[in-house]
Symmetry: C3
Subunit: 274 residues, 3 copies
């Protein structure tokens, strides 16, 4: 059914409002276009609520949050839910600063989120209230491995149930859960952590899948995460073949999303249900 979910994105061409950081915003826009969606970025309170209203979904990424943009996150999140649009939170750097941790927690508390996607340390920072975060990369101690996979699944399910949202903990192994089901995904490649924006792009991609697949937010998230992982693998093969480095790899990753067919996604996704 992952193939159908990608086909739905191509068909629906979802317009996604992104309140996102200025570091990776260009890649975020291009991966949405690659997937068949379209981006609009707006973060000024007087502008952003109007933009939310004409879009199909909202991606809130706190990567370079500031006093001007934080109120937009809350106002747009509320407006999107009034309209029945999915809202995703990417708590970039939660645990790394008080402002990020507090803002992420308030967004979780005050908005009716459809999905929360982050690395393990970020999700823990919200769920548990404290963690060690090495910037925006998952701390080594927080990496999901086979030995802690069951515990991570249980943690994700409990947190998802508590907040009433899909939870996606992404890394070497991705864990996606809502309150009743959980999946692990074993796609992707280590070099994805050698470019900036793998996570930010994924959050936007998930949002597009949520918009286009409103009846099954859990599987829509699984499909988007698997899609980026599959494309990351293809890009890594091409990276080795062509002898390039991380900057061209970034282009290959987005290119592969552009080129990805539903059949390829269905065939190459490695998804395990718990």
């Amino acid at each position: 059914m992952l193939d159908k979910m990608l086909a739905n994105v191509r068909e629906a061409a979802p317009l996604v409002h992104c309140i996102t950081n200025y570091v990776t915003v260009n890649d975020v826009a291009n991966i949405l276009l690659a997937a068949g969606g379209a981006p609009i970025m707006a973060d000024e309170p007087d502008d952003a609520v109007d933009i939310t209203s004409i879009c199909g979904g909202l991606d809130i990424n706190i990567g370079t949050l500031n006093a001007r943009t934080i109120p937009s996150m809350f106002a747009c999140g509320a407006r999107a839910r009034e309209l029945g649009h999915p809202v995703l939170l990417d708590p970039v750097g939660a645990g790394a600063s008080k402002l990020r941790t507090d803002t992420a927690n308030r967004l979780v508390d005050e908005l009716d989120l459809s999905c929360i996607r982050g690395n393990s340390s970020e999700i823990k920072a919200i769920a548990l209230g404290s963690t060690t975060t090495k910037g925006v990369e998952a701390d080594i101690a927080d990496v999901v491995t086979d030995s802690n996979l069951q515990a991570t699944v249980a943690f994700a399910e409990e947190f998802a149930d508590r907040v009433g949202s899909v939870v996606a903990i992404t890394g070497a192994i991705d864990v996606i859960a809502d309150g009743s089901h959980a999946f692990a995904i074993r796609n992707g490649h280590p070099v994805m952590s050698k470019i900036t924006g793998s996570g930010c792009m994924l959050s936007a991609l998930v949002t597009a899948f949520l918009v286009a697949n409103p009846d099954d937010l859990l599987m829509a998230t699984v499909a988007a995460v698997a899609a980026e992982g599959v494309c990351g693998e293809k890009a890594a093969v091409k990276m080795v073949e062509t002898g390039v480095g991380n900057s061209t790899y970034r282009d290959y990753l987005i290119d592969n999303v552009y080129l990805l067919t539903p059949d390829e996604l269905e065939r190459d996704a490695r998804v395990e249900e718990f």
Copy 2:
């Protein structure tokens, strides 16, 4: 004469002050460098007027406008005109939010603009005061086709005459007009709409051409629009040949501006006068 206009850009190396959105700003800077110009970005009121003063022209793009940057647009627009520099407005998303529509309209009213460049729905939002805008892409109903080309030309000429500026409505067919002449350009490729920033890059490119060709702003605009279109076509050929996607296409587009010769522009431009 298009060849001469590109040669003039290469010769003059115009320095363009861009008050532009943070989504596509890197591509905007690189396309200016590719064309033979140079960019400076500055959007803080205390900084931006000084920067305008040392540049040759000003590109105002309202893509991620905010309360801090809007006053810079007005102050720099006024300063640039005092100095006799061309000022271009790219009304990104006009029609999509009240703030964008109102700001674009105020900029048109209060500044002495040299050129207004946008897609059909954006230009209509300013000219007619209302429209439907699907984000930053031209609405299907607003696409310029052979069947509505004459009407679009008449609309562009009337609007250009009214505001005293060159008007460039760009899309599958581009329509460029001032109060007395109009041109259609049939260069470009559909994949240009599958990357973010085709329009933003074009606005910066037009500004560079205006600076380098001050005696014929209409043909300077035509030359710049044709140049990006020709490069978009070349990039599309290479995209197919090399089997890449939209992210690498973006590089190919800018690369082709870097590589474009005046002779190629003259030969490959498809310009029709009305």
Copy 3:
């Protein structure tokens, strides 16, 4: 010893806090990852000091400075030095506006900087209090050549001694000095000035080398400047071989940093001691 300094970056994986402009921020992040480090961007006063505290070094780039971010530069600069972290200043556009010149001068006066890296006109704008600056590119009159190299070295040494910081004046010939030693580097390629961000990327790269080589800040700076120059040369060879333009060149430059080995750096660096 340059080889060892790159090896140390790969080993230490320094986390660099960047308060940097939104034009080139994505490339800055990717070149840090390419070198073996990692970036965090944060510029909001309430957020940035916490981020500085978990990083190993701070890169302050005033490229799109504004009233909100300037206080973050001072607060983070002070916090970083409390923690013994290196702090680098990239005075982008100093001399081009009063705000940039004044802010750069205040940062030099009030912070205990480890390194100041800019082009010749920017460094002169700080050191001499006035200059002509053509945007962010070195003015022709300010280019370091063989005929003014000795004078530039003397100037750099004097300024470095006065401010107690490493000073890196980069361009066709790079001059790096502290109060007692000076080096010239003859790596790099003219096409590096045809992309945006060569300088911004270099500042971030230098910061990563400073973090990983705290016992010899002068040679760490030399190693980073030589590394980007060597990679710029390799990228230029590939640019010609593959017939691309400046946008793909940008990818090649970062790719080559990703691929650069310590042995290659040691072999290809052209460093002259004064």
